[in-house]
């Protein structure tokens, strides 16, 4: 497994910054006054129920949406000032079930961004081979179509595609949500290992507390478009916030002793 090169000299400023950002759709507030930031090398998990504003938050980062109030900044620049195409190509995006193009082979799916960025053919091919290895897929799969893969394989291809042009930011929307529990757990562990080798700003959306506790450096809990708490993963289970308590009880199989060790290796 090879780690992609480290991005950006370790500047301490936040890579992604929500500055009192709100988003309304037809007068209905989907996200209200969000203040949140993510640094390079950090993994933030956005936790919340469906409709809590998690996906809206992600779409504000890659400018699929623009905030109706406040600012969202990526690398210090408001997303409204970014060329949306440039912005999106510097953000890897993984969605549930991979969101792969059904008419593209695995190879073409992974090579999507490098190709539209006009990388030379040899470099594209080398990169695809490297990524297949990174996500633990055999090179034989390169010529298959997504429908010929298992759910877990498709999800791996989705991750490989997002990493292809080595973007400094990675966002994942319920990325492992469609997988069976065993494959899901495998993917989570592998993703965690992968994360430590890359110095990216990662935002991971989930409604699964277990997944959040496993993958996060920090957990931001959203409810009805508002940020409830934003805590380091080790402090989250001890929070006395009623909603956090409700989550902890809902996943009551999780005793504090069963939690993953707080990760000292990142940052």
């Amino acid at each position: 497994m090879s780690a992609p090169p480290i991005h950006g000299s370790a500047s301490d400023g936040p890579t992604i910054e929500f500055d009192h950002a709100s988003f309304r759709l037809n007068g209905r507030p989907l996200l209200q006054d969000l203040v949140l930031s993510v640094k390079q090398g950090e993994t933030l998990v956005l936790l919340g129920r469906s409709g809590s504003g998690k996906t809206t938050t992600l779409k504000l980062i890659n400018r699929l949406l623009l905030p109706t109030a406040g600012d969202v900044r990526v690398n210090g620049r408001r997303t409204a000032e970014w060329d949306p195409i440039r912005l999106r190509r510097s953000i890897g995006y993984v969605i549930q079930d991979g969101g792969l193009f059904p008419h593209f082979t695995v190879e073409r799916n992974i090579a999507l961004v490098p190709r539209i960025e006009n990388w030379p053919q040899a470099r594209v091919e080398a990169r695809v081979r490297e990524l297949l290895a990174t996500v633990g897929l055999s090179e034989d799969l390169a010529s298959r179509y997504p429908s010929q893969l298992s759910g877990g394989q498709r999800q791996r291809v989705g991750v490989a595609r997002a990493l292809a042009a080595d973007p400094p930011i990675l966002i994942l929307d319920e990325a492992f949500g469609a997988l069976d529990p065993i494959t899901r757990s495998e993917m989570q562990k592998e993703f965690r290992a992968l994360q430590q080798g890359m110095h990216k700003a990662v935002i991971f959306v989930t409604h699964d507390l277990r997944e959040a506790l496993l993958l996060a450096d920090r957990i931001a809990l959203l409810e009805e478009g508002r940020l409830i708490v934003d805590l380091p993963v080790a402090e989250f289970p001890r929070s006395q916030n009623p909603l956090v308590r409700a989550y902890m009880e809902a996943f009551s199989g999780l005793s504090e002793s069963g939690l993953p060790e707080p990760d000292s290796g990142t940052k």
Partner: protein, 214 residues
């Protein structure tokens, strides 16, 4: 003289009229595709236009074909030559299935796939040509198939305004009350339609497997 003997005796004319017929229907379908497919794409981009455009194409289809030929007769340049006029009228009829299928085909592409493409930084043009059109191609070809078969059938009426094609035999046979002459036009026209339907059906099936992969 039976039907086959009639066909053999007039084979040169059968051939000429068949070629004329293919030209009328072919040029008309091509013209309709050149207008209809971009129009179908346009109304997926500007949804406010979808109702008026589809409604307009729908209304054209309800005009009886003989009446449409008649309406177009006084048109400048178009009315000068019967062939031009017939092609325009046929193209107008072929418009609806092309617009409708292009629109429906693109709209039926999984929104998650389109959004993934957009989020990866594809431009609108790349999204259209690399994702939406390939995934809609089966449905669009189905529209081309319907339009082609429709044009081949309707082109028989073009003979009524002197545009030629296999309709010549049909109208002549009707006037002569001679079934063999009618059949000499009707059977080749029907065979042409079946052939086009089969060939485009094959293409459609092949493109349809692209979709089934999703």
């Amino acid at each position: 003289m039976n039907f086959l003997q009639f066909m053999m005796a007039n084979r040169q004319q059968v051939l000429d009229l068949t070629i004329e017929h293919i030209t009328l229907a072919g040029v008309a379908t091509l013209l309709a595709a050149l207008v209809g497919i971009p129009l179908g794409i346009l109304i997926t981009r500007v949804p406010q236009l979808s109702k008026p455009v589809l409604g307009g194409a729908n209304i054209i289809q309800t005009i009886p074909s003989l009446a449409l030929f008649g309406f177009l007769l006084p048109a400048p340049w178009i009315g000068d030559r019967a062939g031009r006029l017939a092609i325009l009228a046929l193209a107008l009829y072929a418009l609806l299935p092309l617009i409708r299928n292009t629109y429906a085909g693109i709209r039926s592409v999984d929104p998650a796939v389109v959004e993934a493409g957009r989020a990866m930084g594809l431009t609108d043009r790349q999204l259209l040509f690399q994702v939406e059109l390939p995934l809609a191609s089966g449905v669009i070809v189905a529209g081309v198939r319907i339009a082609t078969v429709l044009s081949i059938g309707l082109a028989t009426i073009a003979a009524a305004i002197g545009a030629g094609g296999l309709g010549e035999f049909i109208f002549r046979g009707l006037a002569m009350v001679n079934n063999q002459v009618i059949l000499a036009g009707a059977i080749p026209a029907a065979l042409l339609a079946l052939l086009a339907d089969f060939a485009l059906g094959q293409l459609e099936r092949r493109l349809g497997t692209l979709r089934a992969r999703s």
